[in-house]
């Protein structure tokens, strides 16, 4: 905890919590008392939530927590390192299938090795996706900007084709396969026991999200994180001051894909089943939307965005009650599914034009308003 709450060495003068007297204090993850208090409050609420909320909402929140891990991953490569990737769905798919294959039933219709411990398949899923990221990264060192965007978009189509055709692994389109079996120290987390399945999965996802969020936050304030930012802001200038472009881009893709692999492995454990058709361009766009709406190059923004996009369908499903001309049947027009998709698009456009810093920027503005109150203008 020493790095989190730096207290040793030079002490802060009493009553001056925002005065930094050492670099360590300046670089601390939680550098202000307000951040510390808010984080603790948020964690307490998040830990109490599974015992207060109903299972269907918990399920949604669990998906949101996993999506946050994936969004943090995309933010590392796109937000921090500035390499536009539309191929996130591909890496999610690799993680999902690695995990499902390792933990799957050996006697089932699809490939499975029966190793159900999460301690085995979760790192394996991350590493498999990271490996794919390393293979793709050389393209990123040769290509810049939108060329890279189009190539990663091609990757999604290729991946979709491979996973649809490889039906001994994926079950084929329209059929799908069961997702990874979640077992930790002999306890099945995806079956109801003393606690419900949703409660256990929610807590698992929460612990993992906190772990990966802290790791990412720590990464971004390190030498590697600064190298990412330098490459994003001006790659040639970065190369001149001694940042190895190839190595940095490789690392960015590997780490981002690792996060995507972890997220992919966990994403479908909540629903228990998944189809190769779900790893399409729309999934990639949803993740792009998460980081843009949440806030580019911020960890907390990625989490906010992921939660927002995951909860959006739930909110739009309530719309027919408020606006009677919107139908909840998919065969009528306009229906909630159309409204939901249009909202993705409109929100992306609106945030980019009006608040490029996303929800994180909105939060910063609100915070600054009250910080200076009553002299805010």
């Amino acid at each position: 905890m020493n790095t989190l709450l730096e207290r040793r060495g030079t002490r802060r003068p009493r009553g001056r919590p925002l005065l930094y007297t050492s670099y360590k204090q300046d670089m601390a993850l939680l550098d202000t008392p307000a951040k510390r208090r808010w984080l603790i409050a948020l964690l307490v609420v998040a830990l109490l939530a599974p015992f207060m909320l109903t299972d269907d909402i918990l399920q949604l929140l669990a998906v949101g927590l996993v999506a946050s891990i994936g969004a943090i991953g995309l933010n590392i490569v796109t937000g921090y390192a500035g390499q536009i990737s539309l191929g996130h769905a591909f890496f999610l798919a690799i993680g999902a299938y690695t995990a499902a294959a390792i933990s799957g039933d050996p006697d089932g219709k699809v490939i499975g090795f029966g190793v159900t411990s999460i301690l085995v398949w979760l790192p394996a899923a991350g590493l498999a996706a990271a490996l794919a990221g390393v293979i793709v990264a050389p393209l990123a060192t040769r290509l810049r900007g939108l060329y890279l965007a189009v190539v990663t978009l091609g990757l999604v189509f290729l991946g979709e084709h491979i996973f649809k055709e490889w039906d001994s692994l994926t079950g084929g389109p329209g059929v799908g396969r069961p997702s990874a079996t979640v077992e930790l120290f002999g306890v099945r987390l995806d079956e109801a026991g003393a606690y419900s399945k949703e409660q256990k999965l929610y807590l698992l996802m929460l612990v993992l999200l906190v772990l990966f969020a802290v790791l990412a936050r720590n990464l971004t304030r390190s030498r590697v994180g600064r190298a990412f930012a330098a490459v994003r802001d001006r790659d040639i200038a970065a190369a001149i001051i001694g940042v190895d472009l190839r190595r940095t881009k490789l690392l960015a893709f590997a780490i981002s894909s690792f996060y995507a692999g972890i997220a992919g492995a966990l994403l479908y454990t909540v629903t228990g089943f998944f189809d190769p058709g779900s790893f399409n361009l729309l999934l990639s766009i949803q993740f792009i939307a998460m980081i843009l709406i949440g806030g580019v190059a911020t960890v907390s923004g990625a989490i906010m965005g992921a939660m927002f996009i995951t909860l959006l369908p739930r909110i739009t499903r309530e719309l027919p009650g408020v606006l009677p001309f919107i139908s909840s049947e998919s065969k009528d027009t306009p229906n909630v599914f159309q409204v939901e998709t249009v909202l993705y698009g409109l929100l992306i456009i609106a945030f980019l034009i009006l608040e490029p810093r996303g929800l994180f920027g909105v939060w910063t503005r609100i915070r600054n308003y009250w910080k200076a109150w009553p002299f805010s203008y």
């Binding site: 939108l146 189509f157 290729l158 698009g345 980019l352 490029p356």
Partner: protein, 295 residues
């Protein structure tokens, strides 16, 4: 041999559609340095508009009307959502066009519904004998339309005053602005042209087949075409489009016999494989300008 030539004809026909779409992408890229991911939506709107006009007016009139209407749509979209972002990073603008694509497509899908619609083209699936090879008329029509459009475009850029202005703005925006080129009008025109081209492409895709909600996927195949030809080369876009069409068609015909392990429908993704291969060798496409960076 007949199978081969038929496959070539199909490839060139579809390829000319990709070429039209690719031209739209390249025109927008040259003037604004942005890849507009909204092209699929414009293509779909063009096709759907013609399915509604088809019963009312002559097919060719419907085609022209729809091209003009979609060009106007593209123009207004540029004005509302893209113009405020001039000077912002291209990534941001590209993502905005992605958002636009989703919004327009969902709205247009509402007009398609779950059924398939016909564009009412005069060709259908009729064939014509060409040197002993039966070739579908619609592929010839696609090729002819594209040839006319490409000739018109090249003449426009080469011989008209505004074409020259557009070339100047593509070369250097600030200098051309200083010389009195209305750069804003250049942006608007390039979007309108791209929209019109996409609409025509959409109608051609629908000819002999039908228009349904999945039509837009075809527009994305123009992306390998532009990368192949180089993002800023009009000639490269045409050649890229044609070669993507050819490769796709030939792979579709022969891959099942030669390499069945690649799976069914490999032809659909073969353009992307082609794109990856070309990029590994030439990172700026076959005809693109290598970017020279100065710090």
């Amino acid at each position: 041999m007949t199978e081969f030539w038929q496959s070539v004809a199909r490839g060139l026909g579809n390829g000319s559609i990709y070429a039209l779409l690719a031209l739209g992408f390249v025109i927008i890229y040259k003037s604004t340095r942005v890849i507009s991911f909204a092209q699929p939506a414009f293509m779909l709107s063009g096709a759907v508009l013609v399915t509604y006009l088809a019963g009312e007016v002559n097919f060719f009139l419907a085609l022209a009307l729809s091209a003009v209407a979609v060009a106007l749509l593209a123009l207004s979209v540029e004005r509302v959502a893209v113009r405020p972002m001039v000077g912002k990073p291209v990534f941001v603008v590209a993502i905005i066009t992605l958002g636009l694509d989703i919004v327009i497509r969902v709205i247009v899908n509402g007009f398609i519904g779950l059924d398939v619609r016909q564009v009412g083209d005069p060709w259908g699936l009729r064939t014509v004998d060409l040197l002993g090879v039966p070739v579908q008329q619609r592929y010839l029509a696609m090729l002819a339309t594209t040839a006319i459009m490409v000739a018109a475009l090249f003449a426009f850029f080469r011989y008209t005053r505004f074409g020259l202005a557009m070339r100047a703005a593509a070369f250097d925006q600030e200098t051309s602005l200083a010389q009195g080129v209305p750069v804003g009008a250049v942006f608007a025109t390039s979007w309108a042209m791209a929209g019109g081209l996409a609409a025509i492409a959409g109608v051609l895709v629908g000819s002999g087949a039908s228009v349904d909600q999945n039509l837009w996927i075809i527009a994305l195949k123009a992306l390998p075409a532009i990368i192949l030809g180089g993002l800023d080369s009009l000639g490269g876009a045409v050649l890229g489009g044609l070669s993507v069409g050819l490769v796709e068609s030939l792979v579709g015909t022969y891959q099942a016999d030669i390499a069945p392990w690649l799976g069914q429908n490999f032809a659909v993704v073969s353009p992307y494989v082609l794109m990856l291969l070309v990029l590994l060798i030439r990172p700026y496409g076959l005809f693109g300008t290598p970017e020279v960076e100065r710090v």
